[in-house]
């Protein structure tokens, strides 16, 4: 009986519990999480709650300001802006998440290979350096210009451009992750538990999946948040330059681009999508900041 009370007095603390406690004490990160979850919910279920079709052109009510019927106003064809911003957010965030997943996968894969297998290290890291020296934005623009029509023909106008944009953002943003992961793997490889695993004959594949991967999770999670932010910004920049998604398939960047052409008549049209992009990126960056602090054991102890 006494033993049991002793057990209860000692509070059980797990690794992730500690991380969560540290994360919660980071005010910016908590606010960021709430805002980001709010935006995710809004774009996920918002279009169902707000019944207006984003592509329904109500020509009689075009170029309207804010009102109860159209809280964000309407554009020059009478599209409801709130519905468009909600719908655009779906695509922008979907692009952000998928491109992040692709770049994270590539970065982790290349980073682990380069860090774990000495023979591949030189080649892969030179390749990474080469990718870092490429002028990313001009190249993205060039690739979109050249391959847009082919992919549209293959997968239809919307899916084609979605695949193209996710793919090119993914393959041009993995380098930082790869470098960080490689550094961590190199340090981990010298540790005793890897030596122990090797000495009982564990195959490399299992050493990586059972011993290395769980230990490099924290830098990967931090890269993931930063990856979402950069992917959303890149996609919006491309759309803003008129080389992203077509007008009838709006994303936040595209809405902003369409809004700038009528900026003097309807300034609010650029504010809403721009605010949505900025809030999303800001909240994701704050989450990343908090995660970095929470996952860093040197800071966590304090």
């Amino acid at each position: 009986m006494t033993d049991a009370t002793l057990e209860d007095d000692r509070k059980y603390r797990s690794l992730w519990g500690d991380v969560w406690r540290q994360f919660r004490s980071h005010r910016g990160a908590m606010i960021g999480s709430f805002v980001f979850i709010g935006i995710l919910l809004a774009v996920a279920i918002g279009p169902y709650l707000w019944g207006l079709d984003p592509n329904y052109a109500d020509v009689r009510n075009r170029n309207q300001g804010m009102s109860w019927a159209h809280p964000f106003g309407t554009d020059q064809l009478g599209h409801d802006m709130l519905a468009q911003v909600l719908q655009g957010g779906r695509i922008s965030i979907a692009v952000g998440l998928t491109a992040m997943a692709l770049s994270l996968f590539l970065g982790t894969f290349i980073g682990v290979l380069a860090g774990y297998f000495k023979r591949l290290d030189g080649v892969l890291m030179r390749g990474t350096d080469l990718f870092l020296a490429l002028p990313i934005l001009p190249l993205l623009l060039v690739i979109i210009m050249l391959f847009r029509d082919t992919l549209r023909g293959m997968f239809g106008p919307e899916t084609g451009i979605f695949i193209l944009i996710v793919f090119i953002i993914g393959i041009t943003s993995w380098m930082q992750t790869a470098r960080i992961v490689r550094g961590d793997v190199l340090a981990l490889k010298e540790r005793e538990f890897i030596l122990a695993a090797n000495s009982i004959g564990t195959p490399s594949k299992r050493v990586i999946s059972r011993h290395i991967m769980p230990n490099i999770l924290s830098p990967i999670m931090v890269s993931a948040t930063l990856g979402i932010a950069t992917a959303i910004i890149t996609e919006s920049s491309l759309s803003f330059l008129g080389l992203g998604f077509p007008s009838d398939f709006p994303t936040w960047g595209r809405l902003l681009f369409d809004g700038t052409q009528r900026i003097s008549q309807a300034p609010s049209r650029v504010i809403w999508p721009g605010l949505a992009i900025s809030l999303t990126v800001l909240s994701v960056n704050f989450i990343g900041d908090g995660l970095r602090d929470a996952l860093d054991p040197r800071i966590r102890g304090r």
């Binding site: 910016g28 350096d129 080469l130 020296a133 490429l134 002028p135 990313i136 934005l137 001009p138 190249l139 623009l141 060039v142 690739i143 210009m145 050249l146 391959f147 029509d149 082919t150 932010a229 910004i233 919006s236 920049s237 803003f240 330059l241 008129g242 080389l243 960047g253 902003l256 809004g259 700038t260 900026i263 003097s264 300034p267 650029v270 504010i271 721009g274 605010l275 992009i277 900025s278 990126v281 800001l282 960056n285 704050f286 900041d289």
Partner: protein, 342 residues
């Protein structure tokens, strides 16, 4: 030091060649046809002749070598000829890389656009650095003070809010909402034909540069001030600072001479590394404010499938990146002797 520089330089050349090959390959593998924009009335045999005259029927490696020869040998010689009047080899008969769209030499187009970009981008970088350095120093010296908190928050906003939104926001505030006769009204379109002749036109030039410079300066200042702060914090806790204080130096001397000079080493390299990136970032800013610089030239080239122009510009951006990587490395070696002996 010379040895170190040479070693880095040796590394640069294969990188540049590889990048040029990648850019060439991307453009070459693309399914789009440079003769696709020509009128449909042109008979097929004439179209074939046009393709042949553009050199599209040669094998890929041959065209790549020709392009290299053109870019690395012919164009620099043409430039020398134009700028200094030096004539090396066959001056008049030498090929020029011409734009599909305007039929004028690509290099001339770029030279024409360069000053606007350099003015706006260069000025914004200088302004950004001038804002960022004091902010970084003060926020590190007074860590966790209200100034530091505010600086952190503003820096977070600075690199989270994309430049196209800050730019558009500034236009809404300063060009749309501000009455036209107000002192604070700023033009939203950059007038390139404007010439500075007297005080009035100089003020106008400053006013039209204000918004693009502000947008880019905020973005650059956000990043550089964070680096400055981190670097200062690293140095402030080191032993030599305690020594300097212990021997009775004034706090100002300790901070501005001992700590600042050592903290500047990584910041200088970050500044050098950032220069090519702002050329890329300027693509968007130039588009917002309609500055007809290099970024806008690239967009025009892309919209019109002007392959030679796009190829040259993209490669030029790559050259800038590799060049400033080299500059950053050499600077680091110059400033920090420990780096030279790796």
């Amino acid at each position: 030091m010379l040895n170190f520089t040479l070693r880095r330089l040796m590394f640069t050349i294969p990188t540049l060649l590889l990048i040029s090959f990648i850019i060439f390959l991307i453009l070459d593998l693309a399914p789009s046809d440079p003769t696709g924009n020509l009128p449909l009335t042109i008979p097929p045999e004439v179209r074939a002749l046009i393709r042949a005259s553009l050199g599209l029927d040669e094998p890929m490696w041959y065209r790549y070598l020709l392009w290299c020869k053109q870019f690395f040998i012919n164009e620099p010689l043409n430039l020398f000829n134009e700028w200094f009047g030096w004539c090396i080899g066959d001056c008049d008969g030498r090929l020029r890389m011409t734009s599909y769209l305007t039929r004028s030499p690509v290099v001339d187009l770029i030279a024409e656009r360069m000053p606007q970009t350099l003015w706006v981008v260069g000025m914004s970088y200088v302004v950004g650095i001038l804002i960022a350095l004091p902010i970084g120093v003060i926020s590190a010296y007074k860590q966790y003070s209200w100034f530091d908190q505010a600086g952190t928050f503003i820096a977070m906003i600075g690199f989270s809010v994309p430049t196209f939104f800050t730019g558009v926001l500034l236009i809404v505030v300063f060009s749309v909402w501000m009455p036209n006769d107000s002192v604070f009204w700023l033009p939203s379109v950059y007038d390139t034909t404007h010439e500075v002749t007297d005080w009035g036109s100089f003020v106008f030039q400053m006013r039209q540069m204000a918004m693009p410079v502000m947008v880019l300066a905020l973005y650059n200042a956000a990043q550089i001030s964070r680096f400055m702060r981190a670097s200062m914090l690293d140095n402030l806790s080191q032993d030599y600072v305690r020594t300097a204080r212990a021997k009775g130096l004034k706090e100002k001397t300790v901070l501005l001479v001992h700590v600042l000079r050592n903290s500047m080493i990584p910041v200088v390299t970050v500044i050098a590394l950032g220069i090519p990136q702002i050329f890329g970032g300027a693509i968007i800013t130039e588009q917002i404010f309609k500055v007809n610089g290099l970024g806008q030239l690239l967009i025009i080239g892309i919209e019109n499938s002007d392959i030679p122009l796009v190829q040259t510009l993209t490669f030029l951006f790559a050259v800038l990146i590799v060049l400033f990587n080299l500059v950053a490395d050499v600077l680091y070696g110059l400033l920090d002797p420990r780096i030279r002996y790796d």
